[in-house]
């Protein structure tokens, strides 16, 4: 039924039946990955790669999510998906439910839409949540270091 809905939606968008919306094909997916802070990860403003994931960057990722920066899903493949919706909750600006799962390793089901080089995801369901498993602080400490109490 969900797949059928996605096909109908994609068709409606493609035919311009929904005012204001642009054609964006929607693909049904199941993705395994980590919930990340997209600004710091993409910009590398605090360094790059794995250091900006997991426990090393968890506190900063919570800061950024609470501040309304888009939260993303970093797939095992390395692809980044901007999260626009979680279940029936369409809050993507500082959503408390997303704050709760920041840095968590999850398996999600939902629909992915690509527009101008960015992949967006509407998550229908978190199928599995292993919590925070990426212990990057063992190698990188805490980034930014001023997030460490007393620093």
């Amino acid at each position: 039924m969900k797949i059928l809905s996605a096909i109908v939606l994609a068709g409606a968008l493609g035919m311009g039946l929904i005012p204001g919306a642009q054609a964006a094909t929607s693909e049904r997916v199941q993705i395994t990955g980590e919930i990340i802070d997209t600004w710091c990860y993409v910009s590398e403003i605090m360094g790059g790669g794995e250091a900006i994931t997991g426990t090393a960057h968890h506190q900063c990722a919570v800061w950024c999510a609470a501040g309304g920066i888009p939260v993303g899903l970093l797939a095992e493949t390395g692809e980044i998906y901007m999260v626009l919706k979680l279940g029936d909750d369409d809050t993507s600006n500082a959503n408390p439910r997303i704050l709760e799962i920041q840095s968590n390793r999850v398996v999600v089901e939902g629909n992915v839409m690509e527009r101008d080089g960015i992949q967006y995801i509407v998550i229908d369901e978190i199928v599995e949540n292993a919590g925070i498993t990426n212990r990057t602080h063992d190698d990188y400490g805490v980034i930014p270091e001023f997030g460490v109490p007393g620093q």
Partner: protein, 185 residues
Amino acid sequence: MSIMTDFRVIVFAISVLLASGSVASAADSWGVAGEEEARFDATVVDVLCELTGDCPKSCGEGRRQLGLLTAENKLVLPTKNAANFSGATDDLIDFCGQNVTVDGIFTENYGVRVFAVQFVKPVGGKWQRTNRFLDKWAKNNGIDPTSNAKKSWFRKDPRINALIERDGFLGIGLEEDRLFLEENY
């Protein structure tokens, strides 16, 4: 050509540039990956609405991520404002469905290109620094918006502090925080 005529030509040229909005970006460089300064005109849109046709009133009234739709029908995602650790929704939400000029920097990495909007100007309006998040946060948390205390909002935010007090700054428990501090500081 006289000096006065030269001066008039220069003034005219500057006026044309300002009027056309094609003057160079005044954005601050942040030294981010693939950085490119940019100033452009766009319409403020609700990203989820733009992609799916699910369109609540007033772009979701601040609860959704907003986008910048250019005249070339390119959807730009403004992920950052000019303040610490915060996004651009509060700076753009009042302009839902309206045309604005934005100034800031693109960052591009891992095949993803997003925008940090540092200044926004509505049609016929004045340039605004994109730090409205701080004023809104101060107001919501009983802090004087004219004080500097709001700049370190992320250390005072009750939502954040509740999570850190429960799960630790590493997110995996207070005992892990204690061990980390003991071994490294």
